[in-house]
């Protein structure tokens, strides 16, 4: 993977098209700052020209004028502030939406091989929390960062312009602030990272124990688990206490330095006033500037945390987005049209990793409309065949042909439209039953959905539900039994009318009544379609035209049920074991 530029600079391309908006915002920021800087200056003028000279008859109108310009500054700065914040946020939110979409789209197109290596938690974090961290960057930092920086520069410039000597005196405490910030902030930040990590640990521990609570109770491990938790909890408390202590010290300390700065200023100014080289109003304006000076400093320090977590999140997001080798192009290749359903494996070798061959030189041919089954013990490579036929993985040697043409030549999208797979763990999406049958394909009419449900023998239990096929599926279909979910997934396959139907039989226990429905349903699906069944229970597959027995990635026996029984090999043994039970 090429190491690209890292950090927040990766976000620049997103900002580029927004150049005009940014420029406008920048302009507003400058105006806001100018208005803010003018406020103490106006005070200075009022005090020095009209309050200390002691001529009560003069300047009443002038004070009014100055006061109203003060008010105008306030109005200008608050008005522009809101406008700028809204503009920056609108821009930021659009950029975030863009990033979120890109992450989501990227995940959609990741190959199965890559997905195997990602925990789902990590991917979810990329698309949600990591983008959310950037949200803070845009809504909080971006809005204020420039304002703060310009404000600092503005204050320095203003003070130097008004009285450079006094300004230099006023800056005397700045090194002190810098020192405190460097000393405490560093530790504070490290501790903050630790605190976050500990929160994650507590989270993980809690989640696991909630799911496993029944076991903990049955095995009487409450005390041990509690002690473990206590230790974690106490570790967190210690880190949090350190955080509190440092924060208790840090913020008040900055304020002390602030007061100290004012005292030094007045002390120096006192001498100057005595000499007549300084006026009180100016001194007072300077105390105000010093107060203003500390605010952006504090702000900037606070933002540091946000910025550094944003950097981490940006890196993580782009690490994902940059790696295009993870993707599969579902459109590349010729479109596959009109499939009859002849499936052929020619000397197929496949390994998920390295030379760990899962399939070794597997060859077979299934004629259109035939039903075949694969049997074998766990790990024999049965389920892998499904993944290969849908091209979730690419094979290393050999060829897989559909209607005599290599499946690698066709676009994945069209290939998968013709091959319907029902997986062991049926996955139902939130939405209605009909939506789950149809998935995103709106060409499937309600009638077709109904027809599919009937053929899948799912109509009986659905008709008992309020709303029928518009009944909402909640929490991934946990309200349905495993068998019912299986029937729904058959309906899904039927509705998409594939040329090839592949069933990875569920291992989960299904009661005998539902089992009967499933068998009937399978017969409906397979009629007139090439059907491949990955069987775990031999009773399901007796009617198949051909049964392949896999062992250690090789086809060891093949033939009809009767033929294989007569052969008296592996199949016979498996069969006898299941039926007779020693």
């Amino acid at each position: 993977m090429p190491k690209n530029r890292r950090g927040l600079s990766r976000l620049l391309p997103f900002l580029k098209p927004q150049g005009k908006t940014l420029l406008l915002c920048l302009l507003m920021v400058l105006l806001v700052n100018a208005a803010e800087l003018a406020k103490p200056y106006i005070l200075e003028i009022v005090i020095d020209r009209y309050l200390t000279t002691g001529r009560p008859d003069q300047g009443l109108d002038a004070v009014w004028v100055l006061a109203l310009s003060y008010m105008a500054c306030v109005a200008l700065s608050s008005g522009l502030n809101v406008t700028e914040a809204v503009m920056v946020n609108r821009m930021g939110q659009s950029i975030l939406m863009d990033i979120r979409r890109r992450v989501f789209t990227h995940i959609q197109h990741m190959s199965m091989k890559t997905l195997d290596h990602f925990s789902s938690g990590r991917l979810i974090t990329r698309a949600t929390n990591d983008v959310e961290t950037l949200n803070e960057l845009f809504s909080d930092v971006l809005v204020n960062l420039f304002k703060d920086v310009f404000m600092l520069l503005g204050i320095v410039a203003m003070m130097l312009w008004m009285n450079w000597r006094l300004a230099l005196v006023a800056f005397a405490v700045v090194p002190l602030i810098a020192l405190i910030t460097v000393l405490v902030r560093g530790r504070l930040r490290r501790n903050f990272v630790r605190l976050k990590a500990l929160t994650g640990q507590i989270n993980g521990f809690f989640a696991e124990n909630m799911s496993g609570m029944r076991l903990v109770q049955i095995f009487r491990k409450e005390k041990e688990k509690h002690d473990e938790f206590d230790e974690l909890n106490f570790g967190y408390y210690k880190a949090a206490r350190l955080q509190v202590r440092m924060n208790s010290l840090m913020r008040p300390l900055v304020e002390v330095v602030n007061q100290l700065g004012i005292a030094i200023l007045v002390w120096y100014g006192c001498g100057q006033i005595g000499l007549g080289t300084l006026e009180i109003g100016l001194l007072y304006a300077f105390t105000n500037y010093i107060k203003q000076f500390f605010e952006p400093i504090n702000d900037l320090a606070e933002k540091y945390t946000t910025i550094s977590s944003a950097v981490v999140s940006t890196d993580r997001i782009f690490e994902l987005l940059d790696d295009e080798t993870q993707l599969e192009d579902t459109e590349a290749g010729k479109p596959l049209e009109q499939v009859v359903g002849r499936v052929e494996f020619r000397h197929v070798w496949f390994a998920y990793e390295g030379e760990n061959w899962v399939l070794r030189d597997v060859s077979f041919t299934i004629e259109p409309g035939q039903s075949v089954a694969f049997v074998g013990t766990t790990g024999a490579g049965k389920s892998t065949i499904i993944s290969l036929l849908s091209r979730f993985y690419d094979i290393q040697k050999g060829e897989i042909l559909l209607d005599g043409r290599n499946i690698a030549d066709f676009s994945l999208r069209t290939l998968r439209q013709h091959v319907a797979v029902v997986l062991q763990d049926v996955f139902l999406f939130s939405g209605t039953i009909a939506e789950n049958v149809r998935l995103g394909n709106h060409e499937i009419t309600d009638e077709q959905v109904g027809q599919a449900l009937r053929l899948a023998c799912a109509d009986r239990f659905i008709s008992e539900l309020p709303g029928g096929m518009n009944y909402p599926v909640t929490e991934r279909g946990s309200t349905f039994s495993a068998g019912q979910r299986q029937l729904l997934s058959f309906a899904r396959a039927i509705a998409h009318d594939p040329a090839v139907f592949v069933l990875d039989e569920a291992t989960a226990s299904i009661d005998t009544d539902t089992e009967a429905l499933i068998q009937a349903s399978v017969r409906n699906v397979s009629s007139g379609r090439t059907t491949i069944i990955i069987a775990h229970r031999l009773s399901t597959i007796r009617h198949c035209d051909c049964i392949y027995v896999l062992r250690s990635g090789r086809i060891r026996e093949q033939g009809s049920h009767e033929a294989l029984m007569a052969l008296g090999g592996i199949y016979r043994k498996l069969h006898d074991m299941q039926i007779k039970d020693s």
Binding site: S211, F234, C270, I280
Partner: protein, 581 residues
């Protein structure tokens, strides 16, 4: 709030010194402004009394140090105590959750429980720490400043300048409410996006298999757009808050400038007074602004406390026996008499009049559909729920007179869902018996037919499983669960449909091993869907809707020709039977 009384009794005193220092801090806060004013007045004299000015400045620095010390102390006391409370809350929650039974966990999503432990506890901490402190400092600093404005400078000037503030407070409350409402919508939008992403990733194989990537992106896009829109709509109000405060205080400062200047010029107040007054006015900006934040923190905290209390006040499902009448290990005899059981949340009886006796070393099989009461029976034998007195007895002692330790350590239980902890395989097997030797762990693994698979992992028994470790197949997990139950040589072994995810051959091997276990005098209760798993049991019960509808040995039941025989024939002959079904 009652749930917190335990904490306040022990640690609540810390709030007292905290509060004392906080009030002292607020009183000191107004001092520098006063001193700056005095310094200004001193410097206006024709001949400046330098010594007096320096004395004032020295006081100013002293006051600053005082502010620093008092603030550091109260922050440590109050915020530190809130952290202590956080720890206590989490600990109490965890301890309490451990006493709750499966009915509680079945009705709660794990995500919600996590939210209690992290978010709610955090919100409560914020309320009793920073929220409480912010409310107090705002109150006292605001009060002291306003007092100084009126009493120390000039009452009329104070009143004139404070006119806009009540309006500001009303506006802050309103804006705060709108912001909260819109923020709630942002959170909902975020939750929608998260849910969708989560669901999408869990179902990614289906999406790929049906080439649904593009429709999925489209579906996501509407949620994505909604998230942007809710955010922008919230920002429109939330970003107005601080400029609004600046603006209205700007009015106050303008009044102060006009009216105050007039007073200085007419000699009603000194210039130093005006400077000090300006300082006081600046001091109340933060307290006024804090109103919105405090309300926010308080509201969230109270809502969280309510949720938290609801969990912590859920009565424990099972209480330990008050006195243990069963000394030492179970011998393996179970007697269930006319057992009828309703789940606490009502509904039909889950079990009705179930009776059986299991002698040591014998096995009992239970066959039934999903929902027939099989798992309920297991839960009751393990006392995860309370059966009525006199219905369940072990070795002739009622279940309520047996200590939970004695009861549960005597039973080896293999659950239906094969939950393993994120730990090594060895630790998972040893979970039941921490003192088991390595040999015993290996022996149990061999009996559960998982030894060879484990040894194939590069790290063997030290292989990490779960989130960060290797992914095990369902069958492997089941076998590790079985090894976990076997390692302690329990007198009673309960297999709750525990062999559903292993293939026929492995199932055979495990049964072979288990038969050895039962031959060694262990009693067994075997719950299964498949007749093949039950036919060697000494007695078999067929459950339906919580009732025993048939009972007997395999042969007797086959001869009876009822439900059992029907199921058996179906499973044996597979499809031929279904033709007429």
């Amino acid at each position: 709030m009652g749930v917190l009384s335990g904490f306040f009794k022990k640690e609540g005193w810390r709030y007292l010194p905290g509060l004392v220092f906080l009030i002292a801090n607020a009183a000191l806060d107004v001092v520098p402004a006063r001193l700056l004013g005095e310094a200004v007045d001193l410097m206006r004299e024709p001949v400046i009394d330098r010594e007096a000015v320096f004395r004032t400045l020295a006081y100013m620095v002293l006051a600053a140090v005082g502010i620093f010390l008092t603030r550091t102390v109260w922050r440590s006391f109050i915020n530190g105590n809130a952290r202590r409370m956080e720890m206590w809350l989490r600990n109490t929650l965890f301890t309490h959750l451990q006493t709750l039974g499966p009915d509680f966990f079945n009705h709660q999503k794990t995500g919600d429980l996590m939210a209690y432990a992290i978010n709610d506890v955090n919100a409560i901490r914020m309320t009793f720490g920073p929220g409480f402190a912010l409310a107090c400092t705002s109150l006292f600093t605001g009060a002291f400043s306003i007092f100084q404005m009126g009493a120390g400078v000039n009452l009329r000037l104070a009143l004139a300048c404070l006119i806009p503030i009540p309006f500001l407070l009303v506006l802050i409350f309103r804006l705060g409410r709108v912001t909260r409402e819109r923020f709630r919508r942002v959170q909902e939008a975020f939750a929608d996006v998260s849910d969708r992403v989560q669901e999408n990733i869990s179902g990614i194989r289906v999406i790929k298999a049906y080439a649904q990537e593009e429709p999925e992106v489209e579906r996501f896009e509407s949620l994505n757009r909604n998230m942007r829109d809710t955010n922008v709509s919230m920002v429109k109000v939330s970003s107005a808050m601080s400029p609004m405060v600046t603006f209205i205080f700007g009015i106050s400062f303008t009044i102060c400038l006009i009216y105050g200047s007039h007073m200085v010029r007419t000699g009603q107040i000194s210039l130093g007074d005006l400077v000090a007054f300006n300082g006081y006015l600046t001091l109340i900006i933060h307290p006024v602004q804090a109103v919105a934040r405090v309300t926010n923190i308080l509201q969230r905290g109270l809502a969280s406390l309510k949720r938290y209390a609801a969990v912590v006040e859920t009565p424990p499902t099972v209480v330990d026996a008050s006195k243990n009448k069963h000394e030492g290990p179970l011998r393996g005899e179970i007697e269930v008499r006319d057992l009828t059981f309703h789940y606490p949340d009502g509904g039909d009886a889950a079990l009705r009049g179930v009776s059986f006796t299991l002698r040591p070393g014998k096995t009992l099989g239970i066959l039934g559909h999903t929902g027939s009461g099989k798992t309920t029976l297991c839960n009751l034998l393990l006392k995860l729920y309370n059966p009525a007195r006199g219905m369940v007895a072990f070795d002739g002692v009622d279940i309520h007179d047996i200590a939970l330790d004695t009861l549960r350590s005597g039973i080896g239980y293999v659950p239906q869902d094969n939950f393993l902890f994120s730990a090594t395989i060895e630790e998972n097997i040893r979970f039941y018996a921490p003192n088991a030797s390595r040999e015993e762990v290996e022996a149990a693994a061999k009996r559960a037919d998982i030894y060879d698979s484990v040894m194939e992992f590069p790290d063997g028994f030290a292989t990490q499983v779960g989130e960060r470790g290797v992914t095990l197949s369902g069958g492997q997990k089941q076998r590790i669960s079985i090894a976990r139950a076997l390692v302690k040589n329990p007198r009673i072994l309960i297999l709750d449909d525990s062999l559903s995810a292993v293939d026929a051959r492995t199932e055979q091997d495990i049964w072979q091993a288990l038969r050895g276990v039962f031959a060694g005098g262990t009693s067994g209760i075997i719950v299964a869907h498949r007749v093949s798993a039950l036919q060697n049991c000494d007695e078999i019960l067929v459950l339906e809707h919580g009732r025993v509808i048939e009972r007997g040995t395999h042969e007797q039941l086959m001869a009876l020709g009822g439900q059992y025989a029907h199921t058996a024939r179906r499973q044996e002959s597979g499809e031929e039977e279904e033709e007429d079904a």
